[in-house]
């Protein structure tokens, strides 16, 4: 796609987005009072507006894509899934899903995939200059990334991540990353700059250090809102920027303050699976009885510090660790149970997510082996047409009674 065309489109797309945001819809209150949350919101708004500007390089990325590479190339990563979920809090999401059905996308497909698809159909996302994807952990998302490349006639570069962490796998992935960098440089018409990658890696590590220190505090303390903010930082995935260092630092400092006034917030339940927006009624309801912490920000892969001497190799290792390998994930969940004092699992099987369905038996086995109470709920956390709170609440109440 020609740059002029992209810029014209982005103007319209930004107007479309603002129009959608202004319509009566499902706007929700922000219930978190953390400074880090407010900072991240402003950072998101800034990045979001920047992405629609003339001359900005936008790279569509999938979940857990190594964004250090994107920042090193001077582009803004546009995580199509996270952005859809974030925007779902502010726009009339029903209209978005209706649009996907009008285009024959089945309601059985995970709403975390239908959301971005709908946002693209609504012509609200900025046209990408490039599409970067990894095939793990969600292959469905990867396929959607390829479709988005076709829609916007943007080049699509995909990483294929093997399952095992060994020299062969790492070398294979490093080679892909090297080729990807060269190709991005070519597409952007820029020279590959080692300094910018080093800077991105340095920022990533600085942020990661604060992130890990916050995780350590969360292991032994009840810190309201902190797990949620870690989830947001994980989902936003701005590792590689100076601003993200600041967000992670502020969150850590707030976590230290929260330790001082710590209060018992009930038994600790690990929320496994996709997460609804912060003010979702189900979360609010559960929080009255238990302390919920979210699993994804606790994964071992999030704690990997990048090797500044061999950044691509450590990025490759992290990418493999993000792979939902059942054996590794089982060990990781057991570690999380022990470290964070988990007393129950809420397994959120989002409709149509075959990844969650695939690992659910392992999760149930882990719960049984640790004598933990667990509840599996099949639900849709975004599309209200697929979800009735009263039905879900009924079984959640029974689970909470079990927990007591």
């Amino acid at each position: 796609m020609q740059p002029e065309t992209i810029q014209q489109q982005r103007g319209t797309q930004y107007e479309n987005l603002l129009r959608l945001l202004g319509e009566p819809g499902s706007a929700t209150e922000n219930v978190s009072a953390l400074k880090a949350t407010r900072m991240r919101s402003i950072l998101n708004c800034y990045r979001l507006a920047e992405a629609y500007k003339k001359g900005t390089k936008v790279a569509y990325v999938s979940e857990q894509f190594p964004t250090e590479i994107v920042f090193a190339m001077g582009a803004i990563p546009w995580n199509i899934e996270s952005m859809a979920i974030m925007l779902a809090q502010s726009v009339d999401v029903n209209r978005i899903f209706q649009m996907t059905q009008e285009h024959e996308l089945s309601r059985d497909i995970c709403s975390f995939l239908r959301g971005p698809f709908g946002m693209m159909l609504a012509e609200c996302y900025p046209s990408p200059d490039i599409v970067l994807t990894n095939d793990q952990p969600c292959e469905g998302l990867s396929k959607m990334m390829f479709m988005s490349g076709k829609r916007y006639t943007a080049p699509v570069l995909g990483l294929h991540s093997p399952n095992s962490v060994d020299d062969d796998s790492l070398n294979y992935l490093v080679k892909q990353l090297e080729q990807m960098l060269l190709r991005i440089a070519h597409e952007f018409g820029v020279e590959l700059n080692g300094d910018s990658l080093r800077a991105a890696v340095d920022y990533s590590n600085q942020a990661r250090a604060y992130y890990c220190k916050t995780l350590s505090l969360l292991e032994t303390h009840r810190l309201p809102g902190v797990s949620r903010e870690l989830q947001e930082i994980f989902g936003m995935n701005y590792f590689g920027t100076k601003e993200n260092v600041q967000v992670c630092k502020v969150l850590y400092e707030e976590a230290v303050e929260l330790v001082q006034g710590e209060q018992n917030s009930g038994k600790r339940v690990l929320w496994i699976g996709q997460v609804p927006e912060e003010s979702h009624e189900l979360l609010r309801h559960m929080r009255e009885a238990v302390d919920i912490i979210f699993w994804a920000p606790l994964w071992e892969a999030n704690s990997v510090m990048l090797d500044e001497a061999q950044p691509l190799r450590s990025i490759a290792e992290r990418a493999i660790l993000y792979h939902w390998s059942a054996g590794r994930m089982e060990k990781d969940i057991l570690r999380i149970c022990d470290a964070y004092g988990i007393e129950g699992f809420l397994i959120a099987n989002v409709w149509g997510c075959r990844n969650m369905v695939g690992i659910s038996p392992m999760l149930r086995d882990v719960a049984t082996s640790r004598k933990l109470k667990y509840l599996t709920v099949n639900l849709d956390l975004v599309d209200r047409n697929n979800y009735a709170f009263n039905h879900v609440k009924n079984r959640v109440d029974a689970f909470l009674e079990l927990m007591q």
Binding site: W351, T376, N394, R395, A398, E401
Partner: protein
């Protein structure tokens, strides 16, 4: 001390009174209708009248069921999973697994030796296989709900209802009736489909001991027979199975008061 349990379900609202010897003094069942709060008031008044008591004689009221939180005079709300668990336990302490089929949901519940719920599973994507499903299919065949059990006993042929959705199943049944398929065979197939769904839930929680059944559908001998055949085991049916949740709620009231 007398306590009351009120189970506000999707189809019917049930109430029960028990004394401190855990004896059921009276119980009552009314249709829920459109306003579940009103149904709770009605059945509460009915059960008190049956026992010759007034509201001031009741020490504690526990509500359960979907409409439990809409009852203003309740002292406590408890989920029906917990209530059915304890309600079955006080009937037969040997029971460790319960299948409860109500108006809009089916539940398999595993309980421990004290009647505490250890694990449970419920239908979640649709209500096919529940009381409402039977109601709709009975109507489609033009027979009374109470007749389903005896009618299915006359079945001579094995038939399969393939639909998993109540509305689609109704269409399928109407077609079978129009084709002249014997009604007992259709009814038996409907019961079999309910039993199959119930078995999936039971396997999810794991059957660890004697199996009991509660909920209104336990009154249907055809469903019970299909389940027993499928599981190759005897099922203990609660006295007044549709009121077990309310009895469990009243029992929880005894402990809470």
């Amino acid at each position: 001390m007398i306590t009351a349990g009120i189970d506000v379900g999707s189809l019917s609202t049930k109430s029960a009174l028990i004394n401190d010897a855990n004896e059921v003094i009276a119980f009552d069942v009314v249709l829920t209708g459109g306003v579940n709060r009103a149904a709770a008031e009605t059945t509460y008044d009915n059960v008190l009248a049956k026992a010759g008591l007034t509201r001031s004689d009741i020490s504690y009221v526990v509500t359960t069921g979907y409409g439990r939180e809409n009852v203003s005079f309740a002292d406590k709300h408890v989920s029906e999973i917990t209530c059915h668990g304890i309600g079955m336990h006080i009937m037969n302490p040997e029971i460790r697994t319960i299948i409860e089929i109500g108006g809009q949901d089916s539940k398999a519940i595993r309980i421990d030796e004290a009647g505490r719920v250890e694990h449970f599973a419920m239908n979640d994507k649709c209500a096919a296989g529940c009381g409402r499903f039977l109601e709709v299919t009975a109507k489609a065949m033009g027979i009374d709900l109470k007749e389903l059990g005896p009618v299915s006993a006359q079945s001579q042929n094995i038939l399969r209802i393939s639909s998993t959705c109540t509305v689609f199943a109704e269409t399928e049944i109407v077609s079978l009736v129009a084709e002249g398929t014997p009604i007992p065979d259709i009814v038996k197939a409907v019961h079999k489909s309910i039993a199959t769904r119930a078995m999936s839930l039971l396997r999810q929680v794991g059957m660890t001991g004697p199996l009991g059944m509660s909920g209104g559908v336990a009154l249907n001998s055809g469903v019970v027979r299909s389940l027993e055949e499928s599981l190759n085991t005897k099922i203990f049916i609660a006295d007044n199975p549709q009121v077990r949740g309310a009895i469990g709620a009243a029992y929880i009231g005894q402990r809470a008061a």
